[in-house]
Amino acid sequence: MTSFCVPRIKQLGLKQLALGLSLIGMAWQVSAQTQVSDAWVRATVAGQLSTGAFMTLQADTDSQLLSVQSPVAKIVQIHQMSMQDDVMNMGQVESVPLPAGKPVSLDPNGYHVMLMDLTAQVQEGSKVPLTLVVENAKGEKETINIEAQAKALGTMDHSKMH
């Protein structure tokens, strides 16, 4: 695939090249160890201080998601939401286990990334850069840069639409 694309890139302008690359990043971020797909951030209204980022992670070997950084937020934390007797419990976690070969969903029903103290409004349709740090069982750290799509504030969580 890559060798096919290279000659064509020469004919494209920088803008198209950047667009193409960001589209690839959005659809399926491939790296040596961990794949990140369907990354999205919930858009905010002006003045709203925080929001959530969601995605699916799949590691080749037993690993864990250690941290996330983003230029749009001063504080980024990993949280876990759980429901008990219709009470939503929220709390920060140190890491998210990523068992080998198993897709782990960060979605509004469980683990998610909290973008707090936002530096600006997250506009629907914009791209939000995220840097993920994943560590495997050997203690090797991997840094993954992705761009998450900002979706409308009122986006329904599809995993719940049964």
């Binding site: 919930r42 709203q48 949280h79 929220m90 709390g91 909290m114 504030l153 009122g154």
Partner: protein, 201 residues
């Protein structure tokens, strides 16, 4: 027969309720919902007094004639709050013309950080008819207590998040509490039960 008996009893005693009957209301004390919880025997939410984005005082009586659906949350909530508000907007659409009478009310549990103007923009991003209410810390605590809503601050690094009850409380048009909708239900399930409430009044 039982309906007749109810009507006679009510007409004999209580003028107010008979007015309700004339308007086509059914005073059955119990309702059967397919998905939600019947809260007809609970008395909640009768005394709250909060402010809307314009600073106007709002209470349950302010929504007479509408079907208020009250949900508690905060705008820094990434999961259950936006999902529940999006579900409410979808349920309202699924109800068709009847949905026009559904008044979704979002009460902030985080008045220290949720400013009135931002709250208003936040709820209206889901549906322009939605309203957000806020109070002082004391008013917020009193309102939550009245509804039996649990909430607590969870320290999170230099900041905090909130754990809270995620139930939506539905009143019929005369202000009687009828239905509790859990966060686990879908928009379609909610719409069905909301239409059952509308059949009553």
């Amino acid at each position: 027969m039982s309906t007749l008996y109810t009507r006679r009893t009510v007409l004999r005693g209580m003028g107010l309720l008979s007015l309700g009957l004339l308007a086509g209301c059914d005073d059955s004390s119990k309702l059967s919902f397919k998905y939600g919880k019947d809260l007809s025997d609970k008395i909640m939410g009768r005394n709250f007094k909060l402010k809307d984005a314009q600073g106007e005082t709002r209470m349950l009586g302010s929504y007479r004639g509408l079907m208020p659906m009250i949900f508690f949350g905060f705008t820094q909530c990434p999961a259950v709050c936006p999902t529940t508000l999006a579900r409410a907007a979808q349920a309202k659409k699924l109800m068709g013309r009847d949905g026009e009478r559904l008044q979704v009310i979002f009460i902030t549990l985080d008045p220290e950080r949720d400013t009135p103007q931002m709250l208003d923009k936040y709820v209206k991003a889901f549906d322009p008819s939605f309203e957000a209410l806020y109070g002082t810390l004391e008013e917020t605590a009193a309102t939550a207590k009245e509804f039996g809503v649990f909430y607590e601050k969870v320290p999170s690094g230099d900041t905090y998040t909130l754990s809270h009850t995620a139930t939506s409380y539905v009143f019929e048009s005369r202000g009687n509490l009828r239905l509790g909708l859990s966060a686990s239900l879908t928009a379609k399930e909610c719409a069905e039960d909301l239409l059952t409430v509308m059949e009553v009044c």
